[in-house]
Symmetry: none
Subunit: 216 residues, 4 copies
């Protein structure tokens, strides 16, 4: 594995290939603005200004603001799934399935911080039908980890009390990274990967670490 950026880039080509230039720039501007200020707090005017176009022109590419949000989120989820599939063919990926998933997840989420942020924060701003559609793909993604945990647990490699709860715990932990990670900060991406990978591994390790002393 020579370059970290590969994880997300592979998938990108697929979904961005057909769009025309302005539509791509609208998507990019909306992505950045939504991530920074939130969907509800960003106006179509702001997006248009960022693109360098009149507000009305946006509607040549996205029928409504809601469609723009949905497009961003759906594209993100599709890219995520596509990247995961590519990752399966990546010879350099860790052989342990949990390590593989965690490594992939961290890398992808650091490379696509804005998309990830939106995908988590703006779910409630999706209209019901769009929500269902996005939520479905989200669950499908989380199911990958759940299955890894369940299989590993059955094989005695991991010890998890509830694979779905554990999934949520791990995903929450990992997905939180981009909220504080800053490019060029004191921690490099590989360092972060190491720290989190270690924590995740141990958290599902098949052993007693402390003497539990009752929790409620």
């Amino acid at each position: 594995m020579t370059d970290t950026s590969t994880v997300a880039d592979t998938a990108a080509k697929t979904s961005e290939s057909k769009g025309n230039k302005t539509a791509r720039r609208v998507r990019a501007a909306a992505l950045s603005l939504f991530a920074r200020h939130g969907y509800a707090a960003v106006s179509m005017r702001q997006i248009a200004t960022a693109v360098g176009v009149q507000p009305g022109a946006l509607y040549n590419h996205f029928p409504t603001k809601q469609d723009l949000l949905k497009d961003l989120m759906l594209t993100h989820m599709q890219d995520l799934h596509a990247a995961w599939r590519s990752w399966q063919d990546d010879a350099a990926r860790p052989s342990d399935p949990l390590d593989s998933f965690v490594t992939f997840h961290i890398r992808y989420h650091l490379e696509r911080a804005e998309e990830v942020f939106i995908a988590y924060m703006e779910l409630r701003n999706l209209e019901p039908e769009n929500f269902r559609e996005i939520e479905e793909t989200r669950q499908k993604y989380e199911a990958i980890l759940t299955e890894i945990l369940a299989a590993g647990s059955a094989a005695g490699r991991y010890e998890v009390k509830d694979a779905r709860v554990t999934t949520r715990a791990i995903i929450a932990m990992l997905t939180g990274i981009p909220t504080w990670y800053r490019e060029g900060g004191s921690l490099s991406r590989p360092t972060i990967e190491t720290i989190y990978l270690d924590m995740v591994r141990k958290s599902v390790a098949p052993m007693r670490c402390h003497t539990p002393e009752g929790g409620g």
Copy 2:
């Protein structure tokens, strides 16, 4: 400890005593609406309707919408700190400091799901000065865990590579609970406590759990 709800209730008395009846109802309505739809997506009119009052009446209690948000978040953080202090006097709390913190955090966050959700989601909607104020108390709270980890690590009880990163990982993991927890669902609060407590303990346990096979 007879009742789980004690954790937050103790602190509540402090902040609920201030303000008259309408102000309290405004706070309650705003809390619920902000949590569900987001600060930017909720209008003062909606809040007024929920309270059963005309929009203008809100301004007798909060000078601006932003002040209302700040009030909710600041009150929440103050309550959280107050509850933490009360918890220190609670004889029934786990003796291990990490167990104690985790137990407290889970309980408090399940009892105050809406406040917690807002505190995480609406930070970016705070005006700079308000942001600084809230952020400061947030960091103070996270510092509690960081210190526990640092001390425990120094004492050899835990093994953490970076106490601040580990803090964020644990907080993210725990704080994610209310996003999927549903009252009356298949998992009881104590069960959730047990699962998460176990994972946290192991994640910082001073041992090798697997043979690390390299993660990038």
Copy 3:
């Protein structure tokens, strides 16, 4: 009967009594503008300007532009029915029922030219539910004439081939008056009344006037 204006004024008091001042002025401005330019061609801004208020203020009184149109049309139809009922108690009205209806109709429609115009022109701009509601009262009004014709025809006083078609013919003829009538023009209202009353009477008279020479 001392004053022609009585016909419509009686009813007016009923429906205008509750509204506050601005709402009344909005109604008046909208009435005049809709009548002159058509509902679709008039903007809320124009109405607001005519009232001397900001556009947003209109929404304190009418929830949507459509509601404003519906209000105007429904009020008109209700006033029309109320005026007709009052007319029944008017000692000075013609004793013949057809004469009475025609006289009433002409007078009312000349006094309320704008309302009448809108009621005819803007039916297609009503949303389906509103349309049904207005249409119902319109048919009830036309039914008055139909019944007069049917009864008179049965009694041999009139000769009509189809009471409902005849109703439409007469209503169309009479309702056309305000489209060309101009206050202060060469024809006085009483003159117009006389001309139309004469035509209507004769058009349903029980006799052969010409030798019909085949019409297709």
Copy 4:
């Protein structure tokens, strides 16, 4: 006269021959949409969609929306005049001039209901200059009836108090037909013709039908 539809068809050839295929389809779509929803409520986009073309393409055929309206109305009036002239050569037309006009008017207006509707409803949406042009041809058409009435009145065949008012009354009555007539309804066109023709004849008949008892 074998077929009622002849009245309008004869004239049609004249105006349909001009313009290429798309222009004709634009006219047809605009005609139908304007008639149903009103000029102001129909957008160029809707027309383009109905034609199956992009909005910009419309401007290859009509320089502005207003020109499209004017074209429809002017074409209609020209067709109407042309049809009237053809009708003069129709051997099967009634010999009495009033009968002839009424028969022609009803037939033409039932065959060209949409054009007629627009011609009446959209006059106010014409820009001043266009209005004058259309209005002139309209008055010329109405003058045909006025002259028939004046001549017949002078000859003692009809009794009309004011030929121009009577013209308006008759035109309004007849022109109202297409607003309620529905193809395939309970009344056939010939039946309608008979009813209206009878009413018109009687309405201008030289006799007293009732003892007028004063009308205000």
